[in-house]
Symmetry: C2
Subunit: 452 residues, 2 copies
């Protein structure tokens, strides 16, 4: 089934972040403010992305209200349930959902993503997060956030248990022979008997091997602990690099770390976060950006930036640059990825806080590109050719409009340049992520199909 691609193909995920990544997106005249809890909104996004041949829909998540709901939508609908709805309305597109290792049990997560893989015919992916915020901790019996190293130690063991559970049924364990009456061969279904520091799980999973064997594992950590987890287990990584050089270095570093675990350079796809604001001309795109920013209350943006940086809002002044002595976020609020990205952004531009907010377009630290479809395609092609990314996790300013503009304007250019698929050739998300390795001498293991 797997077509051999003539040359490397880039990967595109759509981050279906409610009304769009700009906090004021819900205020646009064409927006429905209720979209963040409307399944039809997410289905629409997924169908547009599928028409544009995207690899996957990605859903972020949190286990608490961690933003100011006075002013903007939050991630509200639980990803695995929402992705099952999307699965029913789509055919090809992958379905990647976020779930926390700090506030779940591995058996439950193995089942939910395994089930999503079954109901979607092999399109499921799990974005592994450790959940760094205090409000989430307080919804799960804790007064403080477990410290960074602790969260990642748990996440690593958690991931290993989940993978072992997914492997607990051999490919050929299911027999289903009505004549002999043999339903499953119990010799091919194995206890995992895991006993570790955090978990004790007997297994096996009460779910046969799913179409992908195991759902695709995705991760976004930029800290040393996060990189270590990604190097061992992730098949795709969401990065938040701001510059080409930084992105190339990040990807090279990740490859080196993966190699230490015997994993080839194509075993992990690096998908860089890419926020887009598209206009027919560059100045139209800038006007669109400015109009969106003007609709975000200043005190909200200030509080949000302070939250990203882990400092009190009154430590920042709108018309000054960032303080020089920002402390690295500690255990309680350590969102290293965005912290570093935002710092890099601010220092590269010597921005005042007000300018920084505008440059970030109200976003959380991901790179924002403002321009015409041609300009955005150029940027993507340049990063891809330079080895800065295997693809992108796209965050349009507004949804679904910004995605529709991307699919109508940017995708055809990428296809014309031969770096993006014009049809879906693969059946599963795993095969799709693996496909670009064809002809590149990547490891073969991951391309093996597991069909229960």
């Amino acid at each position: 089934m797997t077509a051999i691609s003539p040359r490397p193909q880039l990967h595109l995920n759509i981050n279906a972040l409610h009304s769009g990544f700009v906090p004021s997106a819900w205020r646009r005249p064409e927006a429905d403010p209720r979209a963040f809890v409307d399944v039809a909104h997410y289905v629409r996004i997924a169908r547009i992305a599928e028409a544009g041949k995207f690899d996957a829909v990605f859903l972020a998540d949190s286990a608490a209200i961690v933003d100011q709901i006075d002013f903007r939508p939050i991630t509200a609908l639980e990803p695995t349930v929402l992705l099952a709805s999307i699965a029913a309305a789509t055919t090809h597109i992958g379905l990647i959902g976020t779930a926390s290792t700090s506030y779940n049990e591995p058996y439950n997560i193995a089942r939910r993503f395994g089930t999503l893989d079954h109901v979607s015919g092999g399109r499921a992916g799990w974005n592994i997060v450790t959940t760094a915020d205090l409000p989430s901790a307080r919804n799960f019996g804790r007064d403080t956030v477990p410290d960074h190293a602790e969260r990642y130690a748990r996440a690593t063991e958690f991931t290993e248990v989940v993978k072992a559970l997914w492997r607990s049924w051999d490919d050929d364990a299911f027999v289903g022979d009505p004549i002999s009456g043999r339903f499953v061969d119990p010799q091919r279904v194995h206890a995992i008997a895991h006993e570790g520091r955090y978990f004790k799980v007997a297994g096996p999973l009460n779910l046969p091997r799913s179409p992908q064997g195991s759902p695709v594992l995705v991760q976004a950590g930029a800290s040393a602990d996060g990189l270590a987890l990604a190097a061992r287990h992730a098949e795709a990584v969401f990065s938040a690099s701001q510059s080409l050089e930084e992105a190339i270095a990040y990807r090279r570093d990740l490859h080196a770390r993966a190699a230490a675990h015997g994993r080839g350079p194509h075993a992990i796809k690096v998908l860089a976060g890419l926020a887009t604001i598209i206009g027919a001309t560059e100045s139209e795109a800038r006007r669109r950006r400015d109009a969106l920013i003007d609709q975000i209350p200043e005190h909200y943006s200030l509080a949000r930036l302070a939250g990203t940086l882990g400092v009190p809002a009154d430590a920042l002044e709108l018309d000054r640059t960032l303080p020089d002595d920002l402390p690295l976020p500690g255990g309680g609020n350590g969102n290293h990825t965005f912290f570093h990205a935002t710092l890099a952004r601010a220092r590269a531009g010597r921005h005042t806080v007000r300018e920084l907010i505008r440059t970030l377009a109200g976003g959380g630290g991901h790179r924002v590109v403002v321009g015409t479809p041609e300009q955005i395609a150029d940027d993507i092609a340049q990063w891809f050719a330079a080895g800065a990314a295997d693809g992108f996790n796209l965050m349009p300013d507004c949804l679904p409009g910004g995605l529709q503009d991307f699919v109508d304007g940017v995708v055809p250019i990428l296809q014309k340049r031969g770096i993006f698929r014009t049809e879906y050739d693969e059946t599963t998300l795993r095969e799709r992520f693996a496909a670009s390795r064809a002809g590149e001498g990547g490891d073969v293991g991951m391309r093996q199909r597991h069909v229960a």
Copy 2:
């Protein structure tokens, strides 16, 4: 929106138990052995039930392999994910899924069922179980099953936390005014600040009020602790009564217990488990039953019955009656509902173990009716008229065939007799369960609609 029914209407749920309640159902020539992990199979069941105007699809669950997979399908796909897929393929039918209070966190359950309620437009229900088996305990870090009282104490607190989280957003908390920029009124979103024996949960939920306000709560306990939980919180109860008298007494007892919590007699619907084997004639139905039983290996049936009774398989002999001194199941395997139902069945008929297995039709203790559509409709009408049940949780022998036979044969008779709806009049599952109270003087509170 709520139509006033001229007279009480019965409620029907379909228990979408993989290939059907008879363990050999998967071996029928028309069956697909893989149906238990095929979303299309469950969608087909739901659509047939919706064509038959059923109240809801019900999905059982377990958190381990608790049956002999050598011989039969198990509950494998996780209910909330599967129900989201079914929601996308249906319009009216309710969606009730099972989740354990022993091996989950209340915040996660509140979100998952709240999300299911959002994506289904107000059709979600949660069947609260405490999970009594040892294999499940061993998948969640335990060497033993928490004892019965402990499980129910946790379940009660768990349920209260979930309800508080569902109430943490006022109906009018969402503003969504693009002109003022006010998205949510934070004064109308409340922390729950729960601190109890088992849980400490700050809240609020990161999800606005769902279409039903709260998903419908369902429970199946027959023990004193189970009844106490149902009397306080359940809106529907699955019972496993074997005789009309027993069922009437059970329902009366539950109403009395509910009254002690200030709940009217119509606040809880009692849905009796009803396994059906349908034939064009009674003898055809019996032949169908016998053919199905003959395809279940004897040693499997014996082990299953022993499991239900909580005794070793070698304590039972096929050609003798049940031992007189069966101990009441303790903390480790206490499935009181089925234990009592099975005992009652055996003693009423003075059955040998072999006969008992045949009478149970390989089932787990639910009442089995074998006959023509007319006979089954008579049985249902009799129970309903006598106040033995508000409706039934239907378990056809084989799926989807046995359900199709019920919808084609039994439903039209019930409709002709005026005790079952011919159209869906209500929008939400909650309204549907409440509708039969119209004109019966039930409490009004439950009929109130909560639309976020």
